[in-house]
């Protein structure tokens, strides 16, 4: 038994993504949801499944419904979702878990039209990602006393090892970052849409924590993204071309330590990749315009390597010489990802993979995109990848 071809995405909607929005998060989410429902050719009354991950952007952020998070109850009330009975919310920050929950629910018949969204606010109080405790307990006691206590630092550790082990430099990464920014100019809701970027700008960017500079990290934003999922059968009656879910694979970290290693990324990523290609009957050569998670830039290298586009330690060289440009052999992250659009933890990747196989990516459309892929979070560990197809398998 397989999920392939049973469920499809038929609607996509975004609010603007801005560093500081004048609108409350609830209003932004209503906008994204209304757009997604309209894109699907449905009315709010037909939505009968709700799924979201109202994970907070940082420790200690407040969680007022409609301002800091947007729960299923909030949207059910404000949008008049009278048929909604199946719902879920997960605490994971990455979007993959909740999206997969909704895929499974639609496939199982638990709901017919599922609305899935991610809403994220940029806290106005406190420093994003700061650690202000005077004591460290639990796993943090093994790292905080040496000044290691924020997500960007723990993510910098495997990238530093990668660079030193394989000889990757910031000049190599500049190719990806600049290519990505060119795509951001073509995405209406992208936070970096109107800001040009040169290689020199990237190389001059200040460090947050080496080897990651400001421009290797996605910008925190206020905003929301929403999707409508339904069955393949129902999609035939709807106006938009469906993006079929061809299959997915998830990872799980089987230990609780705060330090995770480059070797674990490869090990978990290979396992995830093997499962993905086995379930879909596809391989990296079948995909066009893969959308790889880039909340921190080096994730893109590790997804390229573990999904099999190139071998471990080769991605930084693989992306050079025009290969990932729109007219290259592997146009990459045409949706501009998190680095171009803003920190959403996955929806940017999903939206663009869907748009590509729908043939609705506008100026970013890559010819022959029968299959595309959205990879979220990091390979292995908490990550997941979903393959979308333009037609039934």
């Amino acid at each position: 038994m397989t999920i392939a071809g049973k469920v499809c995405v038929v609607g996509v909607g975004f609010s603007p993504l801005a560093r500081r929005s004048p609108l409350p998060l609830g209003a932004l989410t209503m906008e994204a949801a209304r757009k997604a429902i309209a894109d699907a050719g449905l009315s709010p009354r037909e939505i009968d499944g709700l799924a979201t991950n109202p994970a907070l952007p940082m420790q200690g952020a407040s969680s007022r419904d409609g301002l800091d998070v947007v729960t299923p109850s909030f949207l059910a009330q404000t949008l008049g979702l009278e048929q909604a009975t199946w719902w879920t919310r997960t605490e994971a920050s990455s979007f993959n878990h909740v999206l997969i929950e909704a895929v499974n629910a639609v496939a199982a018949g638990a709901c017919r039209h599922a609305l899935v969204w991610r809403a994220l606010h940029n806290p106005t109080t406190g420093k994003y990602g700061a650690f202000k405790e005077r004591r460290a307990a639990g796993a943090g006691q093994w790292s905080a006393p040496w000044g290691l206590a924020t997500a960007v630092q723990t993510h910098a550790l495997p990238y530093m090892r990668y660079m030193r082990k394989y000889g990757a430099t910031r000049e190599h990464m500049a190719t990806f970052i600049v290519n990505n920014r060119r795509y951001a100019h073509l995405v209406d809701h992208a936070v970096w849409k109107d800001v040009p970027l040169t290689r020199e700008d990237y190389l001059a960017a200040r460090y947050i924590t080496e080897p990651y500079s400001l421009l290797d990290c996605d910008m925190p934003v206020d905003g929301a993204a929403a999707f409508v999922l339904t069955t393949a059968e129902r999609a035939r009656d709807l106006p938009a071309p469906p993006a079929y879910v061809a299959g997915y694979a998830q990872g799980l970290t089987r230990r609780t330590a705060t330090i995770w290693t480059l070797e674990e990324i490869y090990e978990g990523g290979r396992e995830l990749s093997r499962l993905l290609w086995q379930r879909t009957g596809l391989g990296p050569g079948d995909l066009r315009a893969p959308q790889l998670y880039d909340g921190f830039s080096a994730f893109v290298y590790w997804w390229l390597e573990t999904l099999g586009f190139c071998a471990p330690g080769e991605a930084f060289a693989f992306i050079q010489d025009g290969r990932i440009a729109p007219d290259g052999a592997l146009p990459l992250n045409t949706g501009a990802g998190s680095l171009g659009c803003g920190r959403m933890h996955g929806p940017n990747q999903v939206a663009e993979a869907v748009r590509q196989v729908q043939g609705r990516a506008g100026p970013r459309q890559i010819a022959g995109a029968r299959y595309s892929l959205a990879a979220m979070a990091r390979p292995g560990a908490v990550g997941a990848a979903i393959v979308f197809a333009a037609d039934l398998p």
């Binding site: 910098a156 924590t209 480059l262 070797e263």
Partner: protein, 84 residues
């Protein structure tokens, strides 16, 4: 454990985001792979390499433990380059 190992990886923090380290930036936090590690089962410890300028840290360089007294009750294991 022996307290001997090799630099596995590190990061150099430039932002004053971690309590107690606001004045220390930029500073390196290293991860040491202890020599008791076996294939597939690394034994990793976090520390600082205080006397080494961050841009001179090298992957795999041998280090050994020392204990930094923070006060009368608290000492932190730290690392320095091995003597040999």
């Amino acid at each position: 454990v022996s307290g001997r190992g090799a630099v596995y990886t590190w990061t150099v923090m430039h932002e004053p985001r971690v309590a107690g380290f606001e004045a220390a930036v930029p500073y390196a936090t290293i991860v040491v792979e202890l020599e008791e590690s076996t294939a597939g089962s690394p034994v990793l410890l976090v520390g600082n390499l205080k006397e080494v300028p961050p841009d001179e840290i090298r992957l795999g360089e041998p280090v050994e433990v020392w204990f930094e007294d923070l006060n009368e009750e608290l000492a932190l294991p730290q690392f320095r380059r091995s003597a040999e």
